[in-house]
């Protein structure tokens, strides 16, 4: 299995590995995937309540190199974005950036799911009405 340089780079130097305080109202946690499927991603964001800007993001991933790279990249991309901007990140951009082969597209889908789940969790905690770009039903459907 050949990996792109970018996947290898994220695998060897994963960005933003760690854990944020789940209990904090500023933190949203997304836990997606399943151990039986061979990948589980946990992506967490800390959102500034005033500006809705994602000021910090952390991840931990159980999965193949492409899954690790996808989630590592996702944390890089959401940081500094507002919540609604972050919701526009799509898996196809991740596929493109990491040059993922077709068998690994599910890793990028999972990373997109993780972003949405983290934001969904934060919104729920803070009673933020769902924006037009991400109805609650769409998040839950993944």
């Amino acid at each position: 299995m050949a990996y792109s340089d970018k996947v290898v780079d994220h695998y060897e130097n994963p960005r933003n590995v760690g854990t944020l305080d789940k209990g904090s109202s500023e933190v949203g946690t997304g836990l997606v995937g399943a151990p039986e499927c061979g990948d589980v991603m946990r992506l967490q964001i800390r959102v500034n309540p005033e500006t809705q800007v994602i000021e910090d993001a952390k991840f931990k991933t159980f999965g193949c190199g492409s899954a690790i790279a996808s989630s590592s990249l996702a944390t890089e991309w959401v940081k500094g974005k507002t919540v609604s901007e972050a919701l526009t990140i799509s898996n196809t951009e991740i596929v493109k950036e990491l040059a993922l082969p077709p068998v690994k597209i599910h890793c990028s889908v999972l990373a997109e799911d993780a972003i949405r789940a983290a934001i969904g969790d934060w919104k729920k905690k803070n009673n933020v009405a769902e924006g037009a770009e991400a109805p609650a039903a769409a998040v839950a459907a993944h």
Partner: protein, 426 residues
């Protein structure tokens, strides 16, 4: 620690000076998949490519006779290793063909006697898929389960036998978990019931003692490339007395190999298989001792350095060079990526479209997550202690690093029961 750079999966090794003595990258530790040829085997084969190139079936000139002599010698060498006679050895293109010939050939030959075949769930696909095809032709096949340690329960086998049972096909040693089945007991049972006993002995022959008489084996498959011989050549042992076993040919033609397998013999390959058997027989005791020690040393290193590791398969009834371990909460493919200067196999088949982990590990009752985190180490004749040290140190390093990254490891450490979580299937 060295820092190999990975570039599109190509391993670029750094200056040799920083590696421990005796270690050259990449390291091959996947000897259940195939083995490198022993130089002594190559040497024995070489004359048969050029000067002694004759067709072993040519009866009227010296080219043919010399080729035939090479083949006859190989037949003796193979027979000696498994306590058979030379006339009971049929050459094939490898164990896939041997298994097909054995199972289909017996099913066809004995169809008047019955239509029931017994095998087990952890067989190689060359046995399982052959049986599946026979099911389509109306045969009944029982796939015995294995216990958590990989061994079949002999009581299950007894219960499965009925009046229509013509064949039992149970491997000696498993290619993934190295577990050695109680073949002598199985053979005894089969002979008591008048059922033919075939065994896929690919991983066992040349590694542990195999005696077709003592074990009551009627038909046995073997292949050269797992015992430091060439690829694409194998053999089938077919018992000629007590009882005489007959097999319907599956390849028709010039009537070679007593009509059981037509086709011009692969003389250099056969000579190589013979030589490989001879060497294996001579060196088995020493090699078993050395590989068992290395294997146990490696296992102890993992168990001392890491938590949540477990060994797959019964370790008492086990091949010397095999170690199959689960490094739980780390996914197998990511693990392989971290050790890409080392050739081993993963129980995870995440690269395939199916995402299905190994059916052998699942048959042991392992959860998919544990199966996904398994590595098969296959130690062989050319692996050194220095290599074992390098591989285990590197693996411990990568597992530790990946566990820092693993949400599952963190959750388990916090005392969370992962089975209680509602995972979103995707």
């Amino acid at each position: 620690m060295s820092n190999e750079m990975s570039n599109n999966g190509v391993v670029v090794t750094e200056a040799a000076g920083t590696l421990p003595a005796g270690v050259k990258l990449p390291i091959y530790m996947d000897n259940h998949a195939t083995t490198p040829m022993d130089p002594r085997v190559l040497e024995a084969m070489l004359p048969y490519f050029t000067g002694t190139f004759g067709n072993a079936a040519s009866r009227n000139h010296s080219f043919g006779w010399e080729a035939e002599q090479g083949v006859d010698k190989a037949r003796e060498q193979i027979a000696t290793l498994i306590n058979a006679t030379a006339k009971e050895i049929i050459f094939t293109s490898g164990a896939t063909e041997s298994n097909n010939l054995a199972i289909k050939g017996i099913a066809e030959m004995y169809k008047e006697r019955g239509n029931h075949i017994i095998t087990q769930v952890t067989e190689h696909k060359a046995v399982l898929d052959t049986c599946k095809r026979l099911e389509k032709y109306g045969y009944r096949v029982t796939y015995l389960p294995v216990q958590a340690d990989g061994l079949i329960d002999l009581e299950d086998l007894k219960r499965a036998m009925d009046d229509g049972t013509i064949l039992v096909s149970i491997m000696i040693a498993n290619n993934e978990i190295g577990v050695v089945q109680p073949v002598a007991e199985i053979g005894k049972l089969c002979h008591e019931k008048g059922v033919i006993f075939h065994t896929d002995a690919v991983q066992a022959v040349g590694k542990i003692p195999v005696d077709v008489q003592a074990m009551n084996i009627d038909v046995l498959s073997l292949t050269a490339h797992k015992i430091y011989g060439p690829k694409g050549v194998g053999a089938l042992y077919v018992r000629r007395r007590n009882p005489r076993v007959q097999i319907s040919a599956q390849i028709d033609g010039g009537g070679h190999e007593r009509g059981m397998r037509s086709g011009t013999l692969n003389v250099p390959g056969i000579v190589g298989l013979g030589k490989a058997c001879e060497i294996a027989g001579q060196e088995m005791a020493a090699e078993t001792a050395r590989l068992t020690e290395l294997r146990d040393y490696m296992k102890a290193k993992f168990e001392n350095a890491l938590d949540y590791v477990h060994v797959n398969g019964n370790m008492q009834h086990h091949l010397p060079g095999n170690l199959n371990m689960s490094f739980v909460y780390v996914e197998g493919e990511s693990l392989l990526m971290g050790i890409n200067d080392i050739a081993v196999s993963s129980g995870s088949a995440c690269t395939s479209a199916t995402l299905e982990p190994s059916y052998v590990l699942k048959a042991l009752g392992l959860g998919d997550d544990v199966a996904h985190s398994s590595i098969r180490f296959g130690l062989g004749r050319f692996n050194s202690k220095a290599e074992v040290d390098y591989v285990s140190d590197k693996l411990i390093d990568v597992v530790s690093k990946l566990r820092e990254l693993s949400p599952l490891y963190e959750m388990v450490k916090e005392g969370i029961d992962l089975t209680k979580i509602e995972w979103a299937a995707h």
